[in-house]
């Protein structure tokens, strides 16, 4: 595999393809989970084309499949997508695009494209490598993600009872794999355990989807605490 930090154009593009293939590997289970969760192939692909942010897509499908309402499904996926606003904040001065290209850039602003672009310091070449990394990764992930979720969505229809294949265990495992890289210190582990406990404690009393949404309060408390800790020090 090529070095993600090499600023040679060919190395950047080949890394972008590698990232696209890695994302496609979880596009397949997403497509399958969406269809077994009650979405049509068209609805699944509308999400991949137009929502195009994996964790939010998984969450929307997960909440709906669990019997949650439209409001909690939409709110959970939108809250999960809030981080993309901060990626956009970091990318805007690097990309310097206006008009239609800015609308397209916004759609491609996700974990992968931002991470690849940030690996290339703007000071070195006025952002040329960072822009190439952003666009090539964004386009590669977009194309391969959409093909992969379509394959998963079409394939799921061929299966019998999804429980016989353990697909109901694959969905929480997918969420675990998405949160895993974010569990880097004691604070993140505390947030994770607190949120899990709160969601389970509320489950018997509230409609599916609402307990998960309410754990955003855990995130707000943790955020306030983090800022307070920093000002005390």
């Amino acid at each position: 595999m090529s070095d993600a930090r090499s600023s040679e154009p060919r190395a950047i593009v080949s890394t972008a393809l590698g990232v696209g293939l890695a994302t496609a590997a979880y596009g397949v289970p997403f497509g399958a989970a969406a269809v077994t969760g009650g979405l049509s192939v068209a609805q699944t692909q509308a999400l991949s084309l137009l929502m195009f942010t994996g964790a939010s897509q998984f969450a929307l499908v997960g909440v709906l499949a669990a019997g949650g309402g439209v409001a909690s499904a939409v709110a959970t996926s939108t809250l999960l997508g809030m981080r993309n606003a901060f990626y956009g904040l970091a990318m805007a001065p690097v990309l310097r695009v206006r008009g239609v290209r800015r609308l397209v850039a916004a759609q491609l602003t996700i974990d992968e494209s931002t991470a690849m672009a940030i690996a290339h310091p703007v000071a070195v070449d006025d952002g040329r490598a960072a822009r190439l990394a952003f666009w090539s990764t964004g386009i590669s992930v977009f194309v391969l993600w959409n093909l992969a979720t379509l394959a998963g969505a079409l394939g799921a229809g061929a299966l019998g009872d999804p429980r016989d294949f353990g697909l109901d265990a694959a969905i929480p495992a997918g969420f675990l794999a998405l949160v895993w890289p974010r569990l880097v210190d004691r604070r993140s582990w505390s947030i994770a355990l607190a949120a899990g406990a709160v969601a389970l404690a509320l489950t018997p009393f509230l409609r599916p989807g609402v307990p998960v949404l309410l754990t955003s309060i855990v995130a707000v408390v943790a955020g306030v605490q983090a800022v307070r800790d920093r000002t005390v020090r």
Partner: protein, 105 residues
Amino acid sequence: MTEIWWAVLLGIVGTYAAKLAGHSVPERLLDRPLVHEISDALPVALLSALVAVQTFAVGQELVLDARVAGVAAAAVALTLRAPFLVVVLVAAGTAAALRATGLVA
């Protein structure tokens, strides 16, 4: 239009608005320590809550079934740095194998 289409369309509007906001709103509105900290914590909280609920809940009921073993196996795979697809397959395979024995629901 069905409920699912409403969820899909409104979800698309919400997530795209978040993406576009980063590229459009003045930096000083978003670039505050508290907003950064909360936005870092949000995915951790929501994804962890989804792991918990999807592992233990059926509707509003909490149950122990083969999913628990599947997710535990996925955690082991993650500590061994397995890629996403392997993690998901390990979870599904573990749950499916346990069910096939007929001992676990």
